[in-house]
């Protein structure tokens, strides 16, 4: 692969010479996504689900088409797809609606120390309010969760398992299917944080055994402000609404109200229809490229990057030594240089990588580092990006006087 044919589809690369390697934070958007959002506002903008006139019908259709595109992407029914703002809101919806209703004192919530704060703090809230207890699986340094950990911590009291599909720091894929099978045997429901997996891996909620699955549109090349929650139909049906207001009711009288059908019961207020329409364009783009291609590009570049980085004795890569187990995410440290300084100095050469604790402070502690720098690759990155980063590494130490 010499030239990446997809790169030209992204205006940010045509307009600047960025070496963008922070796609785990947010992806870049192709022309088709930007055009779709614009098209919505230019030719079908009205409040969806409300107006009885043509324009509003078009807006409603666009919004529901987007829902069908999402359900197709992850193997769900459209009525099981709830649009939210982002993965964080999706996870909170499950915590507030399912967690606070169905968990009780003495129940256990099982999660891992490698979760993003968004898949950790909502469960702590549930525990604090219900008297349930949160238990944490501790992975090995490469992210592997051993069977013995699972067998010890998954008990008859476990009522909910919250697990990230792909770690945003280590890039490892967790054995969600195996964990889900074990969890279902003890009667627990399984919540999957798929924020880092759906952009990179073919994801099917049934194959995974997910009862709930959350992700963000913006990491998938969709617009900001649109996210997804999948929920198993029978679970969503018995859950109370998360937010209350317009568009989520069947009828309201002064004596009471009945809720709208799924999924509208969970979509209170005016929805982000243009964002959903943009997300549909992102899914179409993703499907045109194909997960196989994405995998091939990412693995090749990750392999290149890790090969070069390991040649520097003062660079340390977190996670597996096998590039194919990174899903494009390479977290690293440089002896004597704080990750913030790494990122700032690289910025001087137009190279964009993130530095910090990546909203996973407990994992940092578990790995024994305070923070890391992180390069995360996606389908539009090319060899030039990796070469630029690799070649800039010795200069970082030099700038720091080392």
């Amino acid at each position: 692969m010499s030239q990446n044919p997809y790169r030209q589809d992204f205006p940010v690369f045509r307009n600047g010479k960025y070496r963008y390697m922070d796609s785990a934070a947010t992806a870049q958007r192709p022309d088709s996504v930007i055009a779709a959002e614009k098209e919505f506002y230019e030719s079908m903008n009205a409040n969806p689900l409300r107006g009885l006139y043509e324009l509003s019908v078009m807006a409603t259709q666009a919004y529901e088409e987007a829902r069908r595109a999402v359900s197709g992407l992850i193997g769900a029914e459209p009525s099981e797809i709830i649009f939210t703002r982002n993965a964080t809101e999706s996870l909170n919806l499950v915590a507030y609606s399912y967690g606070l209703t169905f968990l009780h004192e003495g129940d256990e919530i099982l999660t891992t120390v490698m979760e993003h704060h968004s898949n950790m703090l909502p469960w702590r809230m549930v525990a604090e309010r219900t008297g349930a207890v949160v238990k944490y699986l501790k992975p090995l340094k490469d992210g592997t969760i051993e069977d013995s950990e699972l067998e010890e911590k998954l008990t008859g009291k476990t009522k909910l398992v919250a697990i990230g599909h792909v770690s945003n720091v280590l890039g490892c894929e967790n054995p969600v299917r195996r964990i889900a099978d074990m969890a279902h045997d003890t009667g627990a429901v399984v919540v999957v944080d798929a924020a880092q997996s759906v952009p990179h891996l073919k994801t099917d909620v049934k194959e995974l055994g997910a009862d709930f699955l959350a992700f963000s549109g913006h990491k998938l090349m969709g617009p900001f402000g649109i996210g997804v929650l999948y929920g198993r139909r029978d679970l969503l049906e018995k859950m109370p609404p998360f937010l209350r207001g317009g568009e989520m009711i069947e009828s309201v009288t002064l004596e009471g109200q009945t809720w709208a059908e799924l999924p509208h019961k969970f979509e209170a207020g005016t929805v982000n229809a243009a964002g959903a329409y943009g997300l549909k364009a992102a899914i179409e783009y993703l499907n045109r490229v194909g997960y196989d291609n994405i995998r091939r590009i990412e693995d090749e570049l990750t392999g290149m990057l890790m090969d070069v980085l390991t040649e520097y004795p003062y660079v340390h890569i977190q996670g597996s030594e096998d590039p194919s187990k990174h899903n494009g995410i390479v977290s690293f440290t440089i002896d004597g240089v704080h990750p913030h300084d790494i990122s700032s100095i690289l910025d001087g050469s137009g190279i964009n990588v993130r530095a910090g604790h990546h909203c996973a402070e407990p994992l940092m502690k578990h790995l024994g580092v305070q923070s890391t720098a992180r390069a995360s690759l996606y389908l539009y990155n090319d060899e030039e990006d990796v070469r630029a980063l690799s070649e800039a590494i010795p200069g970082i130490r030099r700038v720091m006087g080392l």
């Binding site: 240089v337 704080h338 990750p339 913030h340 300084d341 700032s344 100095i345 910025d347 001087g348 530095a355 910090g356 604790h357 402070e361 940092m364 305070q370 923070s371 700038v399 720091m400 006087g401 080392l402």
Partner: protein, 146 residues
């Protein structure tokens, strides 16, 4: 890019060989400062005498080069000074970062002037001011040990 002009000999010297990193005897004020965006944490100790003079000071903890060097330079400036003078220097430093301090005033910051352009990198402002904010809180709040 402007920020890379901040990295250089002066900053490296204070980062690699900080003068004031360590502990002092009988501090009268001790306070932790935390940068929530990166989790970095420092502790500053100061000994202020009855005449309100900062007799000695030091810091411990880890952080990026910008936060470490900045707190070391700050201690250079305030040790031996009166409390009011240290608080005045705080105002000048913050003013410099906001681009509001006059040239003459800024000169008073000596080596700490290297952070003049940090505002071009908003994400790093917190690193540069971590020590200064902590110091101000110590001297303003009149915290005492234990």
């Amino acid at each position: 890019m402007a920020l890379n002009s901040i990295y250089g000999e002066i900053l490296n010297e204070h980062n690699l060989r900080p003068v004031h990193k360590g502990r002092i005897e009988n501090p009268s004020l001790v306070l932790d400062g935390k940068n929530p965006s990166c989790g970095d944490e420092i502790t500053i100790e100061l000994r202020v005498n009855d005449e309100d003079v900062i007799e000695d000071g030091c810091f411990t903890g880890s952080g990026c080069a910008i936060s470490q060097a900045s707190v070391d330079m700050m201690l250079d400036l305030i040790i031996g000074e009166k409390r009011e003078r240290a608080l005045k220097l705080y105002e000048i430093f913050m003013g410099m970062i906001r681009g509001e301090a006059g040239e003459e005033e800024t000169e008073e910051l000596d080596e700490a002037m290297v952070f003049k352009d940090i505002s071009h990198m908003p994400a790093r402002v917190k690193c540069a001011v971590l020590g200064w904010r902590t110091m101000r809180e110590m001297l303003d709040g009149r915290l005492s040990v234990e």
